[in-house]
Assembly symmetry: D2
Homo-oligomer: 344 residues x 4
């Protein structure tokens, strides 16, 4: 059994990693860390772990020492130094945060307000979207696990971009996320009476996932892609759905685009293309590692509308992290991730 550990185990991403890793048949969770709850049993923080594990939150160093694979689930800016230590000790590090997602340091500084603290590490890290980078991931020991919004948009547009079918500017990404994406920290906009029965965008024109999306789409297109990205907060717990508007270069046949998507993703176990006429919905994917995509035209047939949805905590975070781990360790990509979304 491979020993894995979670640094930042008491945040939502950490807790979801723990839940999934405890059911993974080929790994053993050997250590956890938490700054806020150091010394406490994790089952004291999340009662759903009662009688499921006796693990205690310890120090970061304890995790690095005891484990072969280390997941870092921390606010941005805190993972670089830990990653360095992990790599120096020949461990595998999968960073769930934003520290290694951008290759362009200027973009990182512009959107995150700081420079890289371990710039040399950034040359070794791989952006962990397995449907894009599986071969690179196999031989890598430092993964930048993608953001939740970017995963929906990148999977939604990849076949169009790789085949040069759409214009590269003016892409509109209107995304909606459940509240777990905002994490466990208390805030007025996620106070139940303030968030229930309402809906609104946030950080319009200013969300930090924007440069990550543009950079990855540009890699796919092999040319500069620009988007408008607007995230919204849904009064639900889990799930992201992105409605993506793009302009075809030439007149399109939806049936052909559908076939292209099916062919493109035929060996990707988690990406499902819905038959034409059906519409992707968050309930297709909730609590699974799946991405569901549906394809549409507007009524004038001059815009392609791609609807792409994932569970933000699984394919958008913990599940994708485990998928990356599976690839690195040579396991089947779906090991521990054969989750079927409950129908209700």
């Amino acid at each position: 059994m491979v020993k894995v550990g979670i640094i930042g185990a008491t945040g939502y991403v950490g807790a979801e990693l723990l839940r999934l890793l405890l059911s993974h048949p080929k790994v053993e969770v050997a250590a956890l860390s938490s700054v806020s709850f150091e010394g406490q049993e994790i089952s004291n923080v999340y009662k759903t772990f009662l009688n499921k594990t006796n693990l205690i939150c310890n120090s970061m160093d304890d995790v690095v020492e005891k484990c072969d694979v280390i997941f870092t689930a921390l606010p941005h800016g805190l993972s670089e130094d830990i990653a360095k230590k992990a790599i120096e000790n020949n461990k595998i590090c999968i960073d769930m945060g934003a520290d290694f997602r951008l290759s362009n340091e200027d973009d990182y500084e512009k959107w995150y307000g700081k420079k890289f603290s371990q710039p040399e590490l950034h040359t070794k890290s791989v952006y962990g979207l397995p449907e894009l980078n599986k071969e690179k991931i196999k031989n890598c020991s430092l993964i930048a696990n993608p953001g939740c919004y970017p995963t929906t948009i990148e999977l939604g547009l990849m076949p169009l971009l790789k085949n040069s079918l759409i214009k590269l500017d003016g892409i509109i990404c209107d995304s909606k996320s459940g509240t777990t994406g905002a994490g466990r920290s208390l805030a007025l906009n996620t106070h139940f009476p303030e968030e229930n029965e309402t809906f609104a965008p946030y950080k319009v024109g200013a969300h930090r996932h924007t440069p990550e999306i543009e950079e990855t789409l540009s890699v796919m297109a092999n040319d500069k892609v620009s988007i408008t990205f607007t995230p919204h907060l849904l009064p639900i717990n889990r799930g992201i759905l992105s409605t993506i508007y793009c302009t075809p270069k030439n007149k399109v046949n939806l049936e052909e685009i559908y076939k292209l998507y099916v062919e493109f993703y035929k060996d990707k176990p988690f990406v499902n293309i819905l038959p034409l006429g059906e519409i992707a919905s968050i309930k297709n994917v909730r609590l699974s590692n799946d991405c569901y995509i549906s394809l549409h035209l507007n009524h004038r047939e001059d815009q392609i509308i791609v609807v792409s949805t994932i569970d933000n905590m699984i394919k958008g975070a913990a599940g994708q992290g485990i998928q990356n781990m599976n690839i690195i360790l040579g396991f089947d990509e779906t090991e521990g991730l054969n989750l079927i979304a409950p129908a209700f």
Copy 2:
């Protein structure tokens, strides 16, 4: 007291009209009709009316006979004949449905599958968006009350279109509505366990509000406007929020656009422009007749993003109908509509 009546009183729009009209200081609800519940007290259908009114659901003819103002809240295709009878009897008719919203009969046939049954009436009806057509409404006895989605989008774009500031094609309208918009009829997609904790678009590229929006925006622009419109269903009861993406003709200054909106709407009692930096939210408007609008740019400052929100059952239906009635009857436009959205 002016006598008013509701045809189709037991649907959601009818029930909301009744609730608001019972509190209106200058009218008396004199008659109701319902096909499904004819002969029953309305308080038996909706228990919230218990001890508030003894009104019984009667026939359509009874409403036409007893009332000076008649609200028709019926599925599309059923209002034209009733409107004719009302107009012939010198009554005022406010149609909450789609029958009179489109002036173009070809569009009506294409999207609704039938021709006008009373074509001459369509020359007399006015599209009842008071912020656009107040003067025409004053002298009209047949109102086509706007659709809920169109109200958000038309109020959101009117100052830009009237001032020729944006390109007229490629406008993206990504709209999200609460479930009351789907009415009281049972359906699997509004069955609680199927709709709760999920989110999806519906009728992508095919929603019947599309031609209404395009026609009205074209009137505002005095030129042909084309949009892409995608409605989504939110797991909440009330409220619509539209996120609207449009391309400025020239480089824009958001501060100037903000001033333009404030000036444009300064005499419109229900339209509120949020200060720059704030973001419109459904909770701003729920249970009121207000529209809240916020203005934004994307990160490249080459797209304007307008966020526009209303309560779909009030400014998007019953409240707007009453606003139209107030204007026709010479009442203050806000009579009976001074509703403050509860903060929670």
Copy 3:
């Protein structure tokens, strides 16, 4: 116009008082206070007041000075001194908190952890449940506005207790409340992802409304009543529903009990007894000042089950406070409170 003010205007009870008082035809809101937001416009704290009022949060003294009627909406323990000042200045004080609800100082100390700071005031205050104490309220200038849970239970049991029909011990009060009852303070159990899609009791056997309920029921019974009270938190915003189990002294006829309730409450404008066979529901009362009650027997017909429901923020707080104000000022009891619950 009578001048009214709110001390603690930015909490949920304060905001709801303001919303209702702004629509009250016979009063003018002349001043607000808030410790947390002193100096700010209330429309900056709650955007639903934008363009509805320009009131600014000022000091408590400002409210006492400018207003004839003062609502104190504060955490317990903070109202006594303000009430003293108000009474000394011949103002009317309606305390929305717990400071004056218990007449027994030992109970107050046991459940609230402190003694009365103005014990002489407690001889002048009246427990403001209008259906019980209307005559006393008329001549009083210091009102202890009842708690939300107690209001449901006391209205639910009053006819049975006043008529000595049930045993006075072993009454089970299983109550469920929306989250606004917990107020605006952030807490993990009202963090959206932690409260959504779940349900649990809290403070089992230890909620501070217990002595208030027992004291008031004992007044009604003219003998000592003991209860078991369990509050639960519902994943909704508004509304309380109490399911109350009591044992009849003699074999009961439900039809007779129903008639007794209808007769008992026939002059109480806000209490509605549902016909036998129907079941009270929070949707009957949400956003209104109503209480709906339904009456049942268990299958062995040896227990009476009373279901009693109110909107916790209106009849359970702000609305009841205004009802008390109306009575003191000689207005119609329903002035400003003719609210019909929306059907959805």
Copy 4:
């Protein structure tokens, strides 16, 4: 691999059985049936099964023929004849409905309106609450899988009843369930806008689970137990929580009761007793086969309050059915059921 099948696969219980059985390592789902969707792929009915299974809904006979273990998930009254056929063919039948839950035919007729159609089968069936009847289940081929409400209440009270610690009458069971318990059939009370943001009891004094609970509690107590049972509908998808009030025969020490429960359930893998001071919550159990129980006294310490919660679709239906199957087939009781409730 043991071949299993589901009769009534397209209802909510059937779909949940399928989801769990597809992940069970020791069985193969060999056939499904559905009257409403015969001939269709199950992934067409529930899109979450897309690319997970190609199973087609066939006839009941097909399921009986192809499978060793047959789950019947049907409305009451329809399982007896199928069970007979299954038993005659030496198959194992686990009935998810009510047909075999009551041993007393008079009670069945009184509450369900019909007599047993296969009375001799009732002598062979076992009530499938494994924590009560594990030894009997091992040697049985016809299981009456318990109701969802009864499971919470029976597990909640078993240690008290087996140890004769409480009075056998006057037990109050106030239960609250998510909406999946009402199934997939459309109804006004589960129409989203009518069920969202509200809460109410239903079938007060008249729910069909009442005789099942009384019969099973009486078995545990070895004497006649009578209850008052009130179900309520929660605006959530999954989970039941019962708040149970009972009177101890003698003065109780909560610490001793806690130890009794821990000892009683120490070998039951799915029942978790929370430490004193903590309170069971639906979020502890959602999407798992667990039951969480917490123990409390009222403020006078003369009533025991047991809070017991399960996922109604898993421990209250599909999971418990699989637990019974595991026991009969000699598998580990937890096989395929090692589910950890997501923390959010």
